[in-house]
Subunit: 119 residues, 2 copies
């Protein structure tokens, strides 16, 4: 990356919910933006923590024992191996950070699995 990234401009390029776009890298991590709307899928990542920062709107990260409610300016890191399911009743914009190669649906797979793509 040799130029700055305006996150709102990148989010405007996304065509639907739960389809992340990679906007940069930090060493071997990918920096991605995603629109969340509706319910994602329960999954976990056995090899990595999972970083969520809400940029606008509200995001609920459902865990098996509780919900974590995030508003703009709030972040949460799901520990590796912990099952979670993001949900947004209205559209939310989120910054995600994970190691490159991390699959968005983790161990669950399925139709919400999205390819890694740079925007």
């Amino acid at each position: 990356m040799d130029s700055k990234v305006n996150l709102a401009e990148k989010l405007a390029l996304l065509d639907g919910p739960f389809r992340p776009g990679i906007v940069g890298t930090l060493n071997d991590y990918k920096l991605a933006v995603v629109k969340a709307h509706g319910e994602f899928v329960w999954h976990k990542h056995d090899d990595t923590d999972d970083f969520f920062l809400v940029l606008s709107g509200r995001l609920t990260i459902q865990l098996r024992d509780r919900d974590v409610e995030l508003s703009a300016g709030e972040l949460f890191v799901v520990p590796r191996g912990v099952e979670h399911c993001p949900r947004a009743d209205e559209e939310a914009h989120v910054l995600l950070i994970e190691p490159a190669g991390t699959v968005n649906t983790g161990d669950a797979g399925g139709e919400l699995t999205a390819p890694e793509r740079r925007i």
Copy 2:
């Protein structure tokens, strides 16, 4: 980290510019907030890229060949080995992400070197 982090609340705990506070971890990376005001010090990190996301205000990341001007919602990753010097004419609030153990002043050291501290 077992609870969410409100970045504005954490920033309110900081007592001055260029004294980062760690608010969480992502694998072996530290997530830190910092107030920037004035000019930092020219330095580089030979072993890691350096992530800056402006949360409020404006931050200039001076590089040797150009300035990168960041407003709220804009991020920039300084590649490893690249000399840089952050500057903020008015107070800016920033999210930093780097591997744990990364020294804020990189190879430069000096009086602006800050200890790693959790807030």
